[in-house]
Symmetry: C2
Subunit: 356 residues, 2 copies
Amino acid sequence: ADVKKIAVIAGDGIGPEVVAEAEKVLKRTEELFGYKFETEHALFGGIAIDETGTPLPEETLKVCQSADAVLLGAVGGPKWDNNPKETRPETGLLGIRKALGLFSNIRPAFIFDCLKEASTLKPEVLEGTDLIVVRELTGGIYFGEKFRRETANGQEAVDTCAYNVSEIERIARQAFEIARTRRKKLASVDKANVLETSRLWRETVNRIAVDYPDVELEHVLVDNCAMQLLRRPSSFDVIVTENMFGDILSDEAAMLTGSIGMLASASLGEGSFGLYEPVHGSAPDIAGQGISNPIATILSVALMFRLTFGYHDAADSIERAVKEVLDAGNRTGDIAVDKSKAIGTLAMGQLIVDAM
Amino acid sequence: ADVKKIAVIAGDGIGPEVVAEAEKVLKRTEELFGYKFETEHALFGGIAIDETGTPLPEETLKVCQSADAVLLGAVGGPKWDNNPKETRPETGLLGIRKALGLFSNIRPAFIFDCLKEASTLKPEVLEGTDLIVVRELTGGIYFGEKFRRETANGQEAVDTCAYNVSEIERIARQAFEIARTRRKKLASVDKANVLETSRLWRETVNRIAVDYPDVELEHVLVDNCAMQLLRRPSSFDVIVTENMFGDILSDEAAMLTGSIGMLASASLGEGSFGLYEPVHGSAPDIAGQGISNPIATILSVALMFRLTFGYHDAADSIERAVKEVLDAGNRTGDIAVDKSKAIGTLAMGQLIVDAM
Ligand SMILES: CC(C)[C@H](C(=O)O)[C@@H](O)C(=O)O
Ligand SMILES: CC(C)[C@H](C(=O)O)[C@@H](O)C(=O)O
């Protein structure tokens, strides 16, 4: 079989611990399915700042660019929070998204049957919730011009939010395509009653919709979406939105499932290349204790198999293994009802590898 | 007693119905407490577009400017949704906020004991939730320059988000003052890891904080706040944030209480003048049927009494009456568990007036 190159970025906090378990899953996949992976580790985020002075070293970018996919743990931590902009982990994150052309962030949010009680929402409200947030990732206010200037009212700060038709078209098409493989419902979220970028967004989505008559499209204002996610989460299928709204809504959606330690995400560009990472952060408070939950990262590998490599058999095997291990009652601390029975990162990883 | 002038804007949809009940409460307050109100009705929103061609007629602005406070029902509806910008109800709303200098939107979100089951959150999570979102209302991306231009990638739309130090200072001070009268906790929400306006926001809030050593300040990133509202709503006391984030988070906070038909809001400027309105919208789908819930508008009157007039006795009377009527089991359709026992707008209004 041809060898797939995977750039592995462990990052900060619990990143290295959870990535280590995901790498065991890669190894096990080779044994079970005959696929071949070549992994190359690279520095990124806080650790890269400490060791090289910059969150996204040239070398790391090269490793990613020559890979077929990237597996990322998590970056950031209080140690670097007060650094100037150029030496903050987030700057590396925005830089890698832009440099690799990852314009689309895909975040599935669904309920693990055995974890229903973990949500703060009532089980009957959550029932059947299974949605994907498709977030535009390289445009909008994140990447627009930013500056300060002096005014009569003291210093003024300015951020610019811009979107052009091509940027909206490509993310809209991707969301329609995804909706087509699912329940065929797309909610496009904007603030068209206030923002010019949202009005262009809505016009463009409506134009693209003509090519997808089989997908039911609704437009939802962002404030209303924040409410509807709480009121009727199961009624959403695919949600597509711009960068800033997507940041907020995808976190809200993830949290309401109660399964944030379990959710994977993919950042995609044109073609099959993708960067895969857990939705959760670097959790510096529990780093190094061996108690973090590796499942989101392991499921990120499954997502990579599906979306970048088309290895659906191996993805199925991972997802089934996770389900089996959870169904048998195994829990890391974050998802355990009885914390005293919680197992550690290594034990959870091993159980999943064994169950594949 | 001196006569307080109140501009009454019924607006669209259920606006006129709910405002009519609130006016009965004003009348009853005169009888019971000897206060004197002079109300003047004015056209605003969709109905103003229909009758005068503009959502915010000059005359309406004059009525508001010569009043001590404004009571607003709700504006908007599908009829005007596709109008060009200048003739949309929302444009009137943004216009009136700016023209009256209402830079601060105060939205209390709390649980009505008897309505705990109305929330989609688990009762044990909601327990004790009682927070206020203080939203900056006349700055940010809502009011920044907006335009389109042609680019090589098709049309591009641009929105500008700007904040100066004075704008941030005045809203921060107000939030600290409010926190001081409550549990003395302030969460300032921004996206300082990405936005320049947020970095100025955070610096400025930190500077103002020096004057409020008795208030515990935390900075929360907006995406994290959207999650924490779901995870630990009762831990928030006062949340202060910029216009766009406040729009999203205040709706999320309102919805999680399950009491959206019950929540009032105030928009304030310098001095005691304020505009008061229910958090819910114009609900065109149920307008004219006499089934809407007037409680949020009635409680907006109580908020007006407290914040603009200092009529705490009358405010107490209204709030007690609402509680009594609810405790006795009376419900409009939106909050009734058994819909067949729901009472109408008029009946609910009358019960509250009688209970005052
Ligand atoms: C760390 C931050 C810059 C980043 C973002 O806002 O995109 C994060 O919140 C995310 O969602 O990946
Ligand atoms: C109607 C709209 C312009 C308005 C806003 O976004 O401010 C509304 O959502 C609100 O919160 O009052």
